[in-house]
Amino acid sequence: MDFDFLINNFVGLTVTGLALGAIYALVALGYTMVYGVLQLINFAHSEVFMYGTFAVAWVFVFFHGKQADTQGLGSALPLLAVSLVAAMLLSAAIALLLERVAYRPVLKRNAPRLMALISAIGASFVLAEVMGLRNRFAGWFGLDDDLDNYVAKARDVYSNPVTIQPEGLFSIGDYAVKDVDVLVLGAALLMMVALDQFVRRTRFGRGIRAVAQDPESAALMGVNSTRVVQVTFLIGGLMAGAAATLYMIKIGATRQNAGFILGVKAFTAAVLGGIGNLRGALLGGLLLGVMENYGSALFGSEWKDVVAFVLLILILLVRPSGLLGESLGKARA
């Protein structure tokens, strides 16, 4: 166990861990919102995120071309803004499509909840494979040559040609905190606060909470529960799109199965913080990101998932409903 390394690099490990954790948290929101409203785990949410990452890379390839380049955060900002919009739109569209195709027909027929779970897993496979076979779909329309930059080697890793070069912003001790990490953390926190306020303060937020608490009573009180579910998916998709942009700033490469591992981590974060709880998702995500880094430092990187999941089990043993185990419906306005 390498305590010296952990102590000497504590600030750096914490900052990079928090930044990754913020991305987990944004994706975790999608799981937690849908669970809060429907008591269902939307396993296809990882694919919603994955489509967002591709949207970011496509925007850069479209406006910048395929040639590799390195830019600071400042000069890449205009394109990042465009790709943020594109990723949020695409992810939201995929999330709405999911709700329409994989959830609403199943729930409308009052099928057991398990059915919706299975249809979500199926949808997840379909979405990932559609991305992995996109060159063939383009080929059907004879577009594979025109779209070569976007679809070639569809199952392989696909990267943003522009590498975002982080710059030191300020120092804590002898560690220079990078602007990219600050941006990722700041943007994620900002979105969290906005969403939290939306759910707590607005009329629509009250609708969401009402449906989460008791769908039938909410319907009797005039809440359009179909619309509420739709908006829940929409919000989850928007947040996943934002997470995808931040992920691409930090990592810069994606592939058709990139959602899987990140989805598992985000779901873990949601459970860790208390599934159905927005603030819990934030806490769980940040904690998971930091713990993974500490675990890597102490035991070696091959143990980072072990450390993260042992932590999860320990917390669930003590607090079975997660750290802030309070459901969406019970959140006080």
Partner: protein, 387 residues
């Protein structure tokens, strides 16, 4: 009523059996590919049908590598068949590189009496999973690409490869880092896969005291911040990575983003243009070793003419492997034992280099090449041989 039920069951069972048989037939057909033995033995009259088998990935994630091999074999067969009395054809068996799919195909291959030799298996995992089957059936095989050290330590006397193993590559890589690059402190990272750990361990041994630390990541890991911090805080002037191109690219990129200025080196698992695509500008200066040199230019043209496709990594090796079997047939070897004996005594210069096998089936003499990345491109034409 009971009778009826029973007969229904019997009918259902028969139908199921029919379906299974039909399924077998289909898969065998697809195994034949377009090169079924229709014209084998057609001329001459006394010819018996002779086929070579290829076992490896021709679809799936690593399908491109398997196709590179198939093109090499097809080129060799085309040349041979032009003026041969008895034609030799290729039967392809697509394992998708999956060690779980390969054993069933291996059984098909050893039960096919027309197959006299196997080119493959393509990868180390499937080689270890099928080696016993081929050895017990006595079918000689030559792999163009499986480099794991332990395969030739199993005592499978029918198993050969025309490519240097990971020991040869790891030793050469360590030597190159110390002597040519002049690295004093090397940090070694791998991704915990069989190939990667094997290669990284040989490199660690070769580096000796120059190795100042090591870490292990996971396949599919994208955030390398902890490893990057370990490398930079260790003051390393070089990093060796054992693994494949995606993680290698991400590691090189994130090292570059952290301001690491040392040398990045990896093995043949990362020797792919996709490494450069992932790593971006950080790939410049990276060194990727492989136990395979570039194809001679006239050979590349030949492959293009015959197959309509470009030669790639392992095309030269598979061309050479096919030619060894064809030379055995020309030499009059007909039984698997005779062919195996012929391979053991084979000494020729192939397009991939001089070929002689030691008693374990490893190639005696092998050159490891270092491919360099410059100006955002992996230079596959002019690698530097490690002497």
């Amino acid at each position: 009523m009971i009778r009826t039920t029973r007969s229904w069951r019997a009918a259902a069972a028969a139908a199921a059996a029919g379906l299974t048989l039909a399924a077998c037939g289909t898969s065998e057909d697809s195994g034949n590919g377009g090169n079924g033995g229709s014209d084998a033995g057609g001329d001459g009259g006394e010819c018996t049908e002779q086929n070579l088998a290829f076992l490896g990935a021709t679809t799936g994630d690593a399908g491109a590598l398997g196709l590179n091999m198939v093109y090499g074999i097809e080129t060799a067969l085309e040349e041979y068949n032009q003026d041969a009395d008895c034609k030799v054809n290729l039967k392809q068996f697509d394992s998708q590189g999956n060690p779980e799919k390969a054993p069933a195909l291996a059984t098909q291959i050893v039960n096919d009496q027309t197959i006299i030799g196997l080119i493959g298996p393509g990868f180390s995992g499937e080689s270890l999973a099928t080696g016993k089957t081929f050895f017990e059936a006595g079918l000689p095989s030559i792999s163009p690409s499986a480099t794991n050290v332990t395969i030739t330590e199993q005592g499978w006397t029918t198993w050969h490869r025309v490519i240097g193993n990971d020991n040869a590559q790891g030793e050469a890589d360590a030597k190159y880092l110390l002597e040519t690059v002049g690295a004093k402190k090397v940090y070694v990272v791998d991704d915990a896969q069989d190939y990667s750990v094997g290669l990284a361990n040989v490199v660690k041994k070769g580096l000796g005291d120059a190795m100042i630390g090591s870490d292990q990541i996971q396949v599919g890991q994208t955030d390398m911040s902890a490893v990057v911090q370990k490398v930079t805080s260790s003051g390393a002037d070089a990093v060796f990575y054992g693994g494949y191109y995606t993680e290698a690219g991400l590691l090189a990129k994130q090292l570059g983003q952290s301001g690491f200025k040392g040398t990045f080196m990896s093995g043949d698992g990362a020797q792919d243009p996709a490494f450069v695509e992932v790593a971006g500008k950080a790939a410049d200066g990276a060194m990727l070793s492989a136990p395979a040199g570039p194809a001679p230019s006239d050979f590349a043209q030949k492959v293009k003419d015959v197959t309509g496709n470009d030669a790639g990594l392992y095309t030269t090796q598979s061309y050479d492997a096919a030619n060894i079997f064809l030379a055995a047939i020309d030499d009059g070897a007909s039984s698997p034992e005779e062919i195996n004996e012929f391979i053991g005594g084979y000494t020729e210069d192939g397009v991939s280099g001089p070929i002689t096998f030691d008693d374990k089936g490893d190639i005696e003499q092998t050159t490891i090449y270092v491919y360099k990345v410059a100006n955002g491109e992996l230079d596959v034409e002019n690698p530097e041989p490690i002497e």
